[in-house]
């Protein structure tokens, strides 16, 4: 944190790259992806496929008949995990693990405000996941696919999505401030 007052940088924020340099590095990875593939990065598509596969284990017929999951389980289609973005997200996890280990930063725990309870934080993490999960499907993407990749290629829907996400989050932040303070 760069603040004028005496507040010191909390431990969880220490030791990372300068945000502008990290942004340029992220942009170069995105540029490389566009150069090689013609498409950008993504994440939520792989989670949607995971949800389809998990549901398919329990109720295969329901999933195959479901109008949305037919996108992944249609006749003659490959397994939902045989997909570019699923492979990419496996890479994201591996890259995260290597980055955490080489920085000696593997600290198991729950990210929450100094006085917020674990129960409150985990309840809201689940609720936020549910709401955000529905959101990714209507938006057809998330911060990676829409905001970063669509943003860099100046797609109108991606910019509308990005602006809506941040406007909503800045307003809603007030109501969940307890978990972060």
């Amino acid at each position: 944190m760069t603040k004028g007052n005496e507040m010191t940088e909390p431990d969880y924020a220490k030791g990372f790259w300068n945000p502008y340099l990290a942004g340029v590095a992220l942009g170069l990875v995105l540029l490389l992806t566009f150069y090689l593939m013609g498409t950008g990065l993504g994440a939520s598509g792989a989670i949607a496929r995971t949800s389809a596969v998990a549901a398919h284990i329990v109720a295969p017929e329901t999933v195959e008949k479901n109008a949305y999951y037919q996108e992944f389980y249609g006749k003659g289609k490959k397994h939902p995990f045989m997909n570019w973005m699923v492979f990419e997200v496996v890479g994201v996890f591996a890259g995260g693990v290597v980055a955490v280990l080489t920085a000696r930063r593997f600290r198991p725990g729950v990210g929450r405000g100094p006085t917020a309870g674990v129960g409150l934080r985990l309840t809201l993490a689940f609720a936020g996941g549910v709401i955000g999960g529905v959101g990714t499907r209507f938006a057809m993407g998330c911060t990676s696919g829409q905001a970063l990749s669509g943003g860099a290629t100046l797609a109108v829907g991606s910019w509308v999505f990005m602006m809506t996400v941040f406007a909503t989050a800045f307003i809603a932040a007030y109501f969940v401030r307890r978990q972060w303070s």
Binding site: G91, A125, F126, G129, T143, T168
Partner: protein, 199 residues
């Protein structure tokens, strides 16, 4: 050779999956190094405590955006392939509804999908719970699809760019976004000094 290589026949499907793992690896590595494996670093922006998310994301968008134009000027990237085949299509109303829900999910849940994966790699239990929530949320979306399936593909504006909407050349649009980014970086510094929640 000219990009986008995969679309121009530079390599095949199997190689594309290898590329996926490699660029994914780099993506995950940089996300972690940016501090995005911890929900507090991701949500501090909404309390004007630390505008790291804005700085990282806007510099990433600008770098890739300018890079694509430079590569295209150098004859190393065919920008028209992007515009004609892979640019994300705009579905205006669904993307606004999705943006509202996603924004709520972000500040309530503390993560977005990609950063939650890195959160798991960092050992954060809240990121695992968030991802389980997302999987459940997508079940809800799929179960209710008969209700909102027609809305999901409504207000389809096709592959539409900002420069088309404003009727200006790509290069000018890029300059405007760069200027927006610089203004946002300046305002981010003011926001951190303001810090309304910490007074």
């Amino acid at each position: 050779m000219t990009g986008p290589m995969y679309l121009l026949g530079g390599f095949g499907y199997t190689a594309s999956l290898v590329v996926a793992v490699i660029v994914g690896f780099l993506f995950g590595f940089v996300l972690e190094r940016a501090g995005f494996g911890d929900s507090r670093n991701l949500t501090n922006i909404f309390y004007f405590r630390d505008m790291r998310v804005l700085r990282v994301m806007f510099s990433a968008v600008v770098t890739a955006m300018v890079g694509l134009v430079l590569l295209s000027w150098a004859g190393l990237f065919d920008y028209s392939v992007l515009l004609d085949y892979t640019l994300l299509e705009t579905y205006l109303l669904p993307q606004i509804v999705g943006g509202v829900l996603f924004g709520l999910g972000f500040v309530i849940g503390g993560y977005c999908p990609g950063t939650a994966i890195v959160g798991v790699a960092s050992g954060k239990l809240d990121s695992i719970v968030f991802l389980v929530g997302m999987i459940a949320g997508i079940w809800v979306f799929a179960a209710g699809f008969p209700l909102w399936g027609s809305f999901y593909k409504s207000t389809d504006l096709g592959r539409l760019t900002l420069q088309q909407v404003f009727g200006i050349p790509l290069e000018l649009m890029v300059l405007i976004v760069v200027a927006m980014a610089l203004a946002a970086f300046f305002l981010a510094g003011l926001g951190e000094k303001w810090a309304p929640y910490d007074k």
